[in-house]
Symmetry: C2
């Protein structure tokens, strides 16, 4: 429990909702007649509505990006390192909007929501959504909030992919695009990891073809395995070595299959706690959105062509030890922008933390990010 | 079906057995009163018994390293690229011994064998074995075959770890040690991958705490997931890209969870076919043997100390794109040997195939390996 809120935190925040009553046509060919988005905002929108920042979240995150919901919260929002007064996304200067994506499980319409056609949870009948779909729903949210142009759209990992898609789909509606620890599309290896995670969930006997809610069940093992596997790809080999090495929990080998090495204990804990806070159907949807993301696909696999019409200035950041989306993947984006003579700043941050580095308080990273944000004109 | 056997193959081979009736004390503290090893031999032992080569297998391999069991075989043994007349391990010159490890599921005593105490399969009651235990059983097999000193002990991956352990445990009983695509011990990341694989098996409802044989069940999903995950770590990102890229099986996205990308199809096939040929309890044992392998542990974590007494000359080979056991891990072995002024040849082979490269017909690799083997005096 917090006695006093940290002075560099935005402090207590409260989620907001908006229900969209006009239907939305999705990439998969289906139409959602209505849907709700949950979101948070930090800071104040200025008179000119020129200081709005859209923050897009990654695979298993949500709208709660900064601050605390109550003084009893154990943790602040997921990007507390980057959002707040005096931080890179400075809430003294910017008005930050952070939605939970469509298909999510934290308040926006998704598989756990009631399908008005059946009065039961959508479950596996919820349509598969794409990054392009998300960007469309986020644009509608901007309309509702009176934001005709974002000062910047920003995201890390899958969030960075949304920022990139924004620059392609609504070029004039953002002045800056910040793409952190992302890639222009997944490799076969990335897809392979997602596929193992999906198979773990889909084949869990408690999954009931996605209708586990009605069976009062949770595909606990499948979701746990998916999360354990995810965690391996979020951390670098070096980060894992530094964190755990070959340390044994009881100081000795027991010749059994219970937890022996600290890294096993960490992974099991991460896996088990994820089950209590995330929905398996949403996890499946999110991995598919990742797999499908490929803005160059419609442009003869030519990313430069896909980015030819972007208007935003870019900041692209990668981390040396990120092997999920390595610096080489970020450089693909940078090269495609340069091929179009677009303005792009690129920083490759030396960090041992792997993909998770984008969430970490790494000084050079925060400095670079902050300096870029400071020069954004309002 | 083969009309004619390839001329550079050892041809038709037949497994042999030996039952060891003297008890063996294992690292875990348990004693096996008797056990059987299945093995194959290729070539002929010379009069002086000076041309014997021991080949040690990796995680999911077995004693069938070269040649064919019948003309109907679809595939030869797992190391046909390296073992045969005129090949690196030249059967015109050497007498090759290739056993299935204790705890295996291909004929050596293991979890699927009948426990004489209960007249039921050992299942989860089979003791956890270590690389050190394996080397001990292999030394006994050498005794039976009249081999007091191996010309070389050779292995790739987990097999390379056995070769390294041989040089430490029985220094005078091998003249050469060939360690390919191995590491002196696993990293936290390596252990993490093994742990996810184990959790997939252990939590499969068809696992029945390891007693699935009695329930006429197989922990199919768990073993499939373990194998899918394994395969990702065996291939490099580049190899996967070259093999599959983002190719779609039906040329289009279907917005569903059936196979869409070729890489998904490949992984599912690999996973499913593995279930038909491998035992889950054995898989669990093998991953533990990997995790526990750490010859430096007893020597203050100092690998050079662990290798101070080795007598064999070494060939160490690594592959540039192997991220399971990267070249850096092989160089740890090389450095520790050099610190002791031991004779070691080291080759870092440029290859895109990832960890699996040690099984592949890569010309530079086969040439290097062959040249080293040719200079072994008999």
């Amino acid at each position: 429990m917090l006695d006093v809120l940290p002075p560099d935190s935005i402090g207590l925040v409260e989620p907001k909702f908006h229900t969209f009553d006009s239907p939305i046509a999705l990439d998969c060919g289906r139409i959602l007649p209505r849907y709700k988005l949950i979101y948070e905002t930090y800071g104040n929108l200025n008179k000119e509505s020129s200081n709005a920042i859209l923050v897009c979240h990654a695979l298993s995150s949500d709208h709660h990006a900064a601050g605390y919901h109550t003084l009893q919260d154990k943790k602040p929002g997921w990007w507390e390192t980057c959002i707040g007064p005096g931080k890179p996304i400075d809430t003294n200067r910017f008005f930050v909007v952070s939605p939970n994506n469509l298909g999510g499980c934290k308040g926006s319409t998704g598989p756990t929501s009631i399908n008005p056609d059946t009065n039961k949870p959508y479950g596996p009948d919820f349509p598969i959504v794409t990054v392009h779909d998300w960007v469309k729903t986020q644009a509608r949210l901007g309309d509702i909030l009176g934001i005709s142009q974002w000062a910047a759209v920003i995201g890390g990992s899958l969030g960075g992919m949304q920022a990139l898609q924004w620059a392609i789909d609504y070029p004039k509606q953002l002045r800056h695009c910040v793409v952190i620890a992302a890639a222009p599309r997944l490799t076969a290896q990335n897809i392979a990891f997602n596929e193992v995670a999906r198979q773990a969930i889909l084949n869990d006997p408690e999954f009931y073809a996605g209708h586990y809610y009605q069976h009062n069940a949770i595909p606990r093992q499948g979701l746990m395995l998916a999360r354990m596997l995810g965690h391996i790809t979020y951390l670098s080999d070096t980060a894992m070595r530094k964190k755990f090495g070959r340390d044994l929990r009881e100081g000795k080998i027991n010749f059994g299959f219970d937890v022996e090495f600290q890294v096993e204990s960490y992974l099991r804990y991460q896996g088990m706690s994820f089950v209590d806070r995330f929905d398996a159907n949403t996890y499946l949807l999110m991995t598919k959105a990742l797999d499908y993301f490929d803005p160059a696909y419609k442009f003869d696999d030519n990313l430069a062509k896909a980015l030819a019409q972007v208007y935003a200035k870019f900041l692209v950041i990668s981390f040396t030890s990120d092997w999920r989306f390595s610096p080489a993947r970020s450089r693909e984006i940078v090269k495609a922008l340069l091929a179009n003579k677009k303005l792009v700043s690129y920083a490759e941050i030396k960090a041992h933390d792997g993909h998770d580095a984008f969430l970490m308080p790494i000084q050079k990273y925060l400095q670079t990010f902050k300096m870029y944000m400071q020069q954004i004109e309002l």
